[in-house]
């Protein structure tokens, strides 16, 4: 029987895998970059906070889309449920932010856990339709239950207490951005850890070849239920943050539009690449903010073209494109 200490391999495989998961200097640069708005764009902190929240939502979608391969057109079900839950909680119980977050996340997690049993059993069009159907159902329900949700007027009168009793959620957005950014970073670290764990490997296995998984003894459905529930929890956190930082919740938190937008952001940045959702969100939302003057259908004209271009020429999004460019540069460099 061959010993792995032969040929100097030793613990080489383990060290190789460890190297793949090491923190890269570009990542440090990215996170330092997220601090820039405090110094360079203090007028845009509200926008920055919204970007952080949407990036968190995109991260949750990337987890099921980019890693497990589940195409969901209804992920706003969790985002919106948590937003309403947190908002209603603050109106009816108290405005303490951390408990509000917990309530929002709990609501989304429960919904995610329940629907995970259904989701894990289906694939392809049926799966897409079920995710869409659940979200549309919730949106209709929220519209109808206007006594609770404010219906199409949205949830009004949310009042969030100052964070830690001291930091006000004001119009400037310092508190909002700090709050959202910390949430994003903490969750990101958790997700990064998950991706580099055996479970992350199993998810990639499901994405790469769902048929092979049972043949190696993998309980794919159980894995999918787990990741779906976790993803719902993270989407819920984003939704609750939205309710607290903007102190309002409207039906669009549950709408198809937002689901489609976030899907575009993840794909734009590059699905299954951890930072793809974040980069895609930043690019999309900054562009949207800059072009906010133009009518929605013209915005979607360009987004439509962009989608077609991305899917035809840049299938792995911006990050994929950067990877290809970097490899090309490296090849040229080594030929010198």
């Amino acid at each position: 029987m061959a010993s792995i200490t032969d040929a100097g391999s030793g613990t080489e495989p383990a060290r190789y895998l460890k190297r793949q998961t090491r923190w890269h200097w570009a990542e440090t640069l990215f996170w330092l970059g997220t601090l820039l708005p405090f110094f360079l764009f203090p007028d845009y902190l509200q926008l920055a906070s919204q970007i952080a929240i949407t990036a968190l939502f995109a991260l949750s979608l990337d987890l099921i889309l980019g890693y497990a391969g589940i195409v969901s057109l209804g992920h706003t079900a969790f985002f919106g449920t948590a937003a309403y839950a947190a908002g209603i909680f603050s109106k009816m119980v108290w405005g303490e932010p951390f408990t509000g977050l917990i309530v929002g996340v709990a609501a989304a997690t429960l919904l995610g856990y329940a629907s995970s049993f259904i989701i894990a059993r289906f694939r392809h069009l049926t799966l897409i339709m079920i995710t869409l159907g659940l979200a549309l159902l919730l949106e209709q329900a929220a519209n109808s239950a206007s006594w609770l949700t404010g219906g199409s007027d949205g949830l009004q009168g949310i009042e969030i207490w100052p964070l830690l009793g001291h930091f006000d959620f004001d119009l400037w957005g310092y508190t909002a951005y700090t709050y959202s950014l910390i949430a994003l970073f903490v969750v990101f670290l958790g997700v990064r850890r998950l991706i580099n764990s055996p479970f992350g490997l199993a998810l990639r296995g499901i994405r790469e070849n769902a048929i092979r998984m049972p043949a190696i003894g993998a309980p794919s459905r159980k894995h999918i239920r787990t990741v779906y529930t976790l993803s719902a929890a993270i989407a819920g956190l984003a939704g609750a943050l939205l309710a607290q930082t903007t102190q309002t919740v409207a039906l669009d938190a549950l709408g198809f539009q937002r689901s489609a937008d976030v899907l575009i952001m993840v794909v734009l940045g590059g699905a299954g690449r951890l930072y793809g959702g974040l980069i895609g969100t930043i690019v999309y939302m900054i562009a949207h903010d800059q072009f906010s003057g133009i009518a929605p259908q013209y915005w979607y004209f360009w987004i439509g073209l962009l989608l077609i271009a991305v899917v035809m020429f840049l299938p792995n999004g911006i990050l994929g494109g950067l990877q290809v460019a970097a490899a090309w540069v490296q090849a040229r460099w080594s030929k010198r």
């Binding site: 049926t126 897409i128 339709m129 159907g133 549309l136 259908q297 013209y298 439509g304 991305v310 899917v311």
Partner: protein, 287 residues
């Protein structure tokens, strides 16, 4: 005197026939090539705008525009299939979804650019307007016309599928693509033609829909959701399934809005979810 439920049924049937026309093409092409074409309703929209253009700008009578409302989207779809769709046949669901959503977005913007964002009214022929009183119900001749067209199209489709050689080729390819091409059936050509017919029918549906639900650039998405519901409930690749599902959804929607208006579209989502969970491949899907 018939109770109002019959009126609801009649309206539901008419609406269902409309949904059938809009959906049958997508169901067959999905079953045939497994290609998720979310731009399907954009073709429907094109048919609608063709009619609008011909009636309002050039004064054509409504009924004469219908063949063109069928033909132009059909021809357009052949072009799109050649240039775009063909490269995505084996690709993942997500890639197909993104490509076709992108195309749909662009078409919505184009429609808004050329025709503006408001609903476009058209004038329908005298004979189809208004309503007449029968057995205590208000029957709109236009809806009757819709049902007749729906029945005619169904008969033509089923007849074509069962009794023509091309129909046999389509059935074989839906059943087992590899085997079909092994038998010498040109699967790609079969698909191109089926796709064209499906898009043409959608265009026809779009033109007919103007009078019932109105036409604006958002049609491509608003009705996409209904179409997807019909297709997934009916089962991919099944004409009978599309018809059954379309009628079911049509009647449920009208009935829901009539009897329990606060629930709105709630009812059809529940119906869809219930059916999909009971039969994931749809009522008449294969698996």
């Amino acid at each position: 005197m018939l109770p109002p439920v019959f009126g609801v049924l009649f309206d539901g049937l008419a609406y269902g026939m409309l949904l059938f026309l809009l959906s049958v093409g997508l169901s067959v092409t999905l079953g045939l090539m497994n290609f998720v074409n979310l731009a399907h309703c954009a073709f429907a929209m094109v048919g609608g705008y063709v009619t609008v253009l011909l009636v309002n700008r050039y004064g054509w009578p409504f009924l004469w525009t219908l063949p063109l409302a069928f033909l132009i989207p059909a021809l357009l779809s052949v072009g799109f299939e050649r240039v775009f769709y063909r490269r995505f046949y084996g690709k993942s669901d997500l890639d197909q979804v993104l490509l076709t959503i992108g195309i749909a977005f662009v078409s919505v913007a184009a429609a808004a650019w050329f025709f503006g964002t408001t609903q476009q009214p058209i004038s329908t022929p005298e004979v189809l307007r208004g309503s007449f009183h029968v057995l205590g119900l208000d029957i709109a001749p236009y809806r009757l016309f819709l049902i007749v067209v729906g029945v005619a199209v169904t008969a033509a489709l089923i007849g074509g599928l069962e009794y023509t050689r091309f129909g046999a080729q389509v059935r074989a390819a839906v059943d087992n693509q590899r085997m079909a091409s092994g038998l010498g059936i040109n699967v790609e050509r079969t698909f191109a033609i089926t796709f064209a017919v499906g898009s043409g029918l959608a265009g026809l549906g779009g033109a007919l829909a103007i009078e019932i639900v109105g036409l604006d650039p958002n049609f491509a998405f608003t009705y996409l959701i209904y179409v997807l519901i019909v297709v997934s409930v009916g089962g991919l690749g099944s004409i009978g399934g599309s018809l059954a599902a379309a009628l079911l959804i049509g009647v449920s929607d009208i009935a829901g809005k009539y009897y329990v208006p606060q629930l709105g579209a709630f009812l059809i989502y529940l119906v869809m979810l219930a059916i999909l969970m009971w039969r994931p491949s749809g009522l008449f899907g294969r698996r």
